[in-house]
Symmetry: C2
Subunit: 477 residues, 2 copies
């Protein structure tokens, strides 16, 4: 069962795959580039969905569902959009035994089909804002895939909103970026940088793309969510106008924003260790695993003791009692570590005599004997501490691996060695961005908010020209 | 806004479409045969999902996600299955700009891809039972489509379970049928008949198909959910064997079961009226709409009075306060009726003087003045009463339109007139079933449990041969 996990020091990418497969989060499917999300992985995604969905609803959004298949001609209506997405599309040419008159593409994202509907639904400023989200699957044909992080099919949510003014749409774009930041930090225990993407890295069809970016344990960046200000691009492509409050006619302003099952990959890469998965308590499908330790003669008593605790905890926590007697306690300890359960509770005959149990933290391995009567309350506190210390550890790691760099030789040296996040001044020119990418494989992950002011008086790390931005450079997933 | 709804007496099918479109439950999409589920419709589906998902989890099932695209060769591995589904498939022939080596079909159902994975996951009886459910979209190319009831793409859940014995798989099949029956009756307020399908009507690849069948207001039947005992058909097609507890080797036994967004169509057709949608409270996204009645001089007071009630109700009910002053109270009453909100609360200056509000039932139109202090408690009771009386009314209607018929002339006459559910003895022969279908358009909806015993001594309504079953015949959606 619990097969060997490649240590991170040996191969970070093998380690990652070993965790995904051995912790039964996902499996390779027979269709190239796609994956099966197994129950243990899907349960994490369900918890992510439920937290995000509540946050979307609190901010006034409603869910809806738009068709999977999009006429090929729709994609072509927005010039940048088709250029970005057409090469990644899966195309349906036959249906019901006949060749189709017009090929249909499986949605790589739904701006086009959604804006074709918004044209029907929006006439007046009274119909705005329109705040819709959709949970669904999308397909983007990928050459090199990686479980959760990059798969041909993935699950995601895509918000698509329509507004009466540019200001309102910009506010919405940033509001949802902030929802993503809060979700990443408060639920995933994942510190993120926020900011705007460079032109080269923005969404095909957007005016501006904002993102949250996190650092993984191999010091690479992972884009964990994006929020786009689409201007009037899609409204113009689909001719969606509205009567303004003043009686005029204007094109509608748009945003879109999304996060995907890629977040499960980010979660694994950010916190897990060589023993297996480490999950932040808020997203752990099981928070507490009780492992009774017994021999034949003590079995009945110890099981009863463990089950009493189990019953007490059930109302407040997601708990399992591992009463199976085919496997030794030691085997079970490893198994629950592999699955990433935040707290393991051990109890044997001696604990029973002392009216205690032993709480074991998954993140630190620390063992804490506590009186059984205090266990429920202590577990609650401990779960909060684990959530917080995963965040603190990830933040400390990111800060330790973020460097202010002011000359090109240092930048090259930084990425020749361990790498990480390099903060450097940048002229804003496409050429210098391309040169860094060619020579270091690092790209601009984000231009943090306020970067223009900070760049004032500085010189571009590549060209020595006056800088326009402070940028975060990193290699990325 | 509130356009005219065709009365049921004029055209039941136009009435249905008018409700769906005017109540903003769904809309036609630009892709033939597919639909957009709008927020008001999707919110009903979300409530259905959440109730069903809890019932699936209570019965030990876990969610997972399998790929959308299935290699064409997989479908062909089970002979009946490919015959049933291949003609309905959408086929992807190109991906990433290139022609694919093997065409991929968009899942019409997922037995084949799932059993190809079960082969990897199941080795021993210890791996069984495997109880997995998936919420997803599926595609079946349809010539004649109808919003919610029959669309090329639809949303559904599909359970796929694997067992060590035929008995256990049969038990699971019936357990899930019972889950569907309870859901239909307790949440949808929809009485259903349960039983087994005839050979002609069963799922392509099943040994037996069980179903829940409901009667709509036009007396037609609607299949609202199916649960299949698949025997070892898919295990044999994908060579999925397991080591038995006794050390032998056997093929795994299977079930699958599903319900879809078609249920939203059933819900509309079962309860709604010529004023619009009628929703059972348990599935209503909004349970209570408060409509204050005011003129300019009373606006502030009445709104404050209404909002106080709104705040009181919020903790316990899904409530909206319709404070908009662009529309008259009368217009708002119609609008909330159209949207199917179970209880409308009216309050004007006179009600305020009397410390009362008026509760108006959507199902009956009954108006109930109540003291404002008692409103929260009265609303709770009323919601339960509405839920129950929708069920009672639907049951009464079904019983009034179900006839025991023992000769063929009466059967023909029954379907020439109003029709409904005909209970009749049947020989079990494919020919007599086909003859009834050709001459009346009615099919066997279900052979109710215990039908064989009841048929003893009776003669087939078509052929006069000794009967083997009592069958329910009806025209259907």
């Amino acid at each position: 069962m619990a097969e060997r996990i490649t240590p991170r020091s040996e191969s970070y990418s093998d380690w990652y795959v070993d965790i995904v497969l051995n912790a039964q989060l996902a499996d390779y499917s027979p269709v190239k580039g796609t994956m099966v999300i197994r129950p243990r992985g899907y349960a994490v995604w369900e918890r992510m969905q439920s937290a995000l969905d509540a946050m979307f609803k609190e901010t006034g959004h409603q869910n809806a569902y738009f068709p999977l298949l999009i006429p090929e001609s729709f994609l072509k209506k927005e010039a940048e959009h088709v250029e970005g997405f057409a090469p990644e599309c899966a195309v349906v040419t036959h249906g019901g035994g006949e060749e189709l008159e017009e090929p249909l593409v499986i949605r790589p994202t739904s701006e086009t089909i959604i804006w074709s509907m918004y044209k029907k639904w929006i006439q007046s400023y009274r119909d705005l804002p329109l705040l819709i989200n959709q949970w669904c699957n999308v397909l983007r044909w990928e050459k090199r895939t990686r479980l959760f992080l990059r798969t041909t099919e993935f699950l995601w949510q895509e918000g698509h909103t329509a507004h009466a003014s540019a200001e309102e749409a910009r506010e919405e774009t940033l509001r949802m970026l902030e929802v993503y930041r809060r979700f990443a930090e408060e639920y995933m225990a994942l510190p993120v940088l926020t900011g705007v993407k460079s032109e080269a890295e923005k969404f095909a069809g957007a005016v501006n793309t904002y993102a949250i970016e996190a650092m993984m344990q191999d010091r690479k960046a992972l884009q964990a969510g994006t929020s786009h200000f689409l201007g009037q691009n899609f409204a113009k492509a689909f001719d969606v106008t509205f009567q303004t409050a003043e009686g005029g006619l204007d094109h509608v302003w748009a945003t879109s924003w999304g996060v995907s099952t890629r977040l499960v990959g980010a979660l694994i890469m950010a916190h897990s260790d060589d023993k297996g998965l480490v999950l932040p308590p808020k997203l752990a499908p099981v928070e507490v695993a009780i492992v009774p330790i017994f021999k034949n003669q003590t079995k009945t008593e110890v099981l009863a003791y463990a089950d009493k605790l189990n019953q007490t905890l059930k109302g407040s926590y997601r708990v399992v009692l591992d009463a199976d007697d085919n496997n030794s306690p030691g085997w079970k300890f490893s198994q629950w570590e592999l699955y990433g359960v935040p707290i393991r509770v051990e109890c044997g005959p001696k604990d029973m005599q002392n009216n205690q149990v032993v709480l074991v933290r998954r993140d630190s391995g620390e063992k804490l004997p506590v009186a059984i009567s205090e266990a429920p309350q202590r577990i609650g506190v401990l779960l909060q501490q684990i959530q917080q210390s995963l965040y603190d550890r990830a933040l400390e790691f990111r800060e330790a691996n973020t460097r202010d760099i002011d000359n090109y030789d240092d930048l090259l040296a930084f990425f020749e060695n361990d790498g990480g996040f390099a903060r450097a001044a940048w002229s804003g020119s496409v050429e210098s961005e391309a040169r860094i990418k060619a020579e270091t494989k690092a790209t601009i992950r984000v231009l943090p908010f306020g970067n223009e002011q900070e760049a004032a008086g500085k010189r571009c790390v590549v060209t020595g020209e006056p800088a326009r931005h402070m940028a975060i450079f990193a290699r990325s997933y």
